[in-house]
Symmetry: C2
Subunit: 351 residues, 2 copies
């Protein structure tokens, strides 16, 4: 059996409660006894039982992470690794532990979260992505349980602390960037419509085109999974069009990777024949051929701020609701080129 607070108490000739106070560094304990107790702790190799502490103090110093439904590979997006790093960094600084959901489907994850919350296993939750209709959020709001969202809540935006980029503006800017390079036939390849981030980026794209008085074509807007196959299907559809686009806005670097692969197969050269702006600027973006022009959304900060603000709320329930916008910046590499002459790519002349 492990050393308990009582053993330490005996060893130091004090009451258990005194030991407890020493652990908490209670101010009105004399330095002398503090020293004595600490010595006893050292000698016995005492470590507090955190479970017991949690039970008594009704707090765990654990943050629950609601992972994306890892249907399959979405999970492997380096985006999540980076978010994790940000979360870890702040959690470590504040001595919080991180516990994650393991379920694959929305339902599984929902049940797990209920367990975590009702089971008092975590002090707060971070939702790593935001769905359009999110049962989880309603539940958590209902419980009045501390949580923050990475991304933008679809509903009740004003009542939920969330950490997001200005995806609308970012998408608008990149589209304008392409317009500035003379492109007019710009297509949009987005992730799942169910994700708020996709919706926001789509709106920004549309806004830019509208402001430039360029007609929106439904056929230029395709949605795909965040992965290779997705990118491939998407590009396939687009290139079959009578007037294929000369430039692409793709909402995720990983999808862009699929797009590059596909273009390569079709012997369409990126930049020269097809300009591409991508999102997220994960480390892969600089390693592709050509290196991608991509919007850096400061993923690490998303995670760091999420943890920071959740902990703030845990420590003080009266902490007000906040919306934190993490800045983004377009990192220009080599996947875009100016379209010379009229807005017709070499592709259209094939027809």
């Amino acid at each position: 059996m492990a050393i308990t607070i009582k053993d330490v108490a005996k060893h130091a000739n004090v009451a258990p409660s005194t030991v407890s106070r020493v652990i908490a560094d209670h101010p009105r304990i004399s330095e002398k006894t503090k020293k004595r107790v600490r010595k006893a702790m050292k000698e016995l190799g005492y470590h507090p039982n955190l479970i017991a502490r949690s039970l008594a103090s009704k707090s765990t110093s654990v943050i629950g992470l609601v992972m994306p439904e890892s249907a399959d590979v979405i999970f492997q997006n380096p985006f999540f690794s980076s978010v994790l790093q940000g979360l870890s960094a702040r959690a470590y600084e504040k001595s919080f532990a991180l516990q994650m959901t393991t379920g694959k489907t929305k339902d599984e994850i929902f049940q797990e979260v209920v367990q975590m919350v009702q089971g008092r296993r975590v002090d707060g939750l971070i939702l790593l992505n935001s769905h359009v209709e999110d049962r989880l959020m309603s539940y958590l709001m209902n419980c009045d349980f501390p949580f923050v969202v990475i991304g933008k809540p679809y509903k009740h935006e004003e009542q939920i602390t969330h950490i997001d980029n200005d995806n609308f503006r970012a998408a608008k800017e990149v589209t304008e960037y392409l317009l500035g390079l003379n492109h007019e036939r710009i297509a949009f390849i987005g992730g799942h419509r169910d994700l708020v981030v996709t919706v926001d980026r789509l709106l920004g794209y549309e806004k830019a085109l509208r402001e430039a008085s360029i007609e929106l074509r439904d056929s230029y807007i395709v949605h795909a999974e965040f992965l290779k196959e997705g990118g491939e299907e998407a590009i396939d559809e687009l290139l079959k069009l009578a007037e294929p686009p000369t430039a692409l806005v793709v909402t995720d670097d990983l999808m862009t990777l699929g797009v590059l692969h596909m273009l390569d197969k079709m012997e369409i050269s990126v930049a020269e024949q097809m300009s591409i702006v991508s999102f997220n600027n994960v480390f892969l973006a600089q390693m592709t051929q050509p290196p991608l022009t991509s919007v850096d959304i400061n993923i690490f900060s998303l995670g760091y701020e999420a943890a920071k603000n959740l902990i703030l709320k845990i420590e003080d329930p009266k902490e007000p609701v906040k919306r934190i916008i993490i800045p983004h910046q377009l990192v220009i590499r080599s996947s875009c080129e100016r379209l010379e002459g009229k807005a017709h790519s070499s592709l259209s002349t094939k027809k």
Copy 2:
């Protein structure tokens, strides 16, 4: 205050212990009272307090994950995402939660693990990678605390349950594969020497060359970080040699990505001028240009089996020590070509 077992007991007109037994589905409780109690639980919306349960039962149903020291980007290797998926899958099946370390340095992580273990926060641990001299392992063995290692322990192999690939053999096979393609000047680009996996793969590579009576050259063996920059530096060194290699064994797909990037810059064509075999076969391997020939090491299984065997050991401390070898297979794509004529690449003629 939340609903407790006592509230349910009152509501159902039984003793708290009876409720507890119903929760545990104790056999000698009559179906009738079980039903009644369950009804009461439903009606009151009861959820057990897992912390209290842990304290009383001295078990948490939580597995601790010892993450790699995320100095920076190693963490972003899709390898870890895949391992996590495997771990999650089994953890979910057995209703275990996953809690991870957040520290960046070895020391930080060590301290966290001590907290987890002594704080009784987790029932067991999974070490996601294995270092050459691992203080953590000694500590855990000393405590007799349940843990399994993904990879091969450097020491005490016979006393530590671990899940590994036969990295020696895998490396030997890929080297032989290259030899079979007529290559003789085969270089090895490995990760950090501190990682057991690197050592194993290096030994396999050397063995294959030795068996083929090909001299080992120190200059053909380079170590680098698991990332882009690493790959670039490595390739740079190799190509400066008087007799540069015609083929490469690279121990990680991500490093290979860096290598590809570098070769591309130097206008050396992969396969044609430089054959490459890589390791891990993460999803990126099929998306590069050209797609990589890579050893699939079944990362998901590594994770799944790790969780499975740890839980086995948690459930029965007498569970024997095991070494689980996950099979691997070489996935041949397009990054290697047969070397025609004598073993001289077009590169050497440049000199």
